[in-house]
Symmetry: D3
Subunit: 69 residues, 6 copies
């Protein structure tokens, strides 16, 4: 599958914080910690757990730019 | 300023593709190319150009996880 | 590739309206017209044109519910 | 009310998975299951329950396109 | 129509910057300038022009919080 | 820090509804109630509580326009 989302980064799941509906999945991408809030249903369907090798995917229209401190 | 967005990555602007309303800003983050679609107004207000040092900022609810090929 | 995004619908590209940075891609999904605003770069990389068979993908956190008229 | 969001699909609520802050609302749209993650407050204000007739609404900039398997 | 989006603010269109695919619509909300990037198609379908009375609508999952300067 | 997000409104936190992963933060902005769904981790890192003075930040591509009732 090829997807239009312009941002795709390989990483490893570090930690999953699960609620009833949503889980926050922390992913180590080249030493940087990224966090994805996805449905618990997706966590289960993808079989995610600590150590899973994943791709972090982000649509370009959801990316902001900041400058300065 | 401290922002709730969980994902903040330092990088350097590589290229800006400008339309009338929206510009795509490609940013090199540790050798990886990320793309942000932002308003042309923001590009101007932040004074972005090739070589600008920036922070890429993404809200956790906008991040997806993929597995497999 | 398996992606966390909960919403995936098969359809056929009907029309592409291209700007410099962003293109609106209209997709026929079972007789219903959906529209995706994606980068022109993605349109080219995926080789999209009228008649292309595609999957429309949407993250659950981007879906709203309305009631009434 | 007329809204700028380009994607509006009629459906019927199938199931609601409620957390404290967010609920996932599964909607049957012409035999296809879609999922919306919305606030529990919105579920209550709209009076959503299994069988509610609803409209699924999605902004075009939140729609991605994928090709291939 | 009642929509799950938690944020709805009345305002008046101040200015529309149109590209081919996307337009930026600046709205005056109680003296504060807000900007919406929507499709040109939506601008036309809603008949928006300078002075139009509108509602600005934002999903709670798209809102961030910042502190400090 | 200067951010590309076009919409920045000052307000005061009114109420926080916390789940395990996500919290809904209600903010009073000039007498208007806005709601942000952010991670619980962000609530803690920013030290948010009732009465905190904050900025509400929203990317232009996440803003919709509605007309009529």
């Amino acid at each position: 599958m090829k997807i239009s989302a312009r941002n795709q980064l390989r990483g490893t799941v570090q930690e999953i914080t699960r609620g009833e509906a949503i889980a926050n999945v922390a992913v180590d991408v080249a030493g940087q910690r990224l966090v994805a809030s996805i449905t618990v249903e997706a966590v289960e369907e993808l079989g995610l757990s600590e150590g899973s090798e994943v791709m972090v995917v982000i649509k370009a229209s959801d990316v902001m730019i900041a400058t300065g401190e």
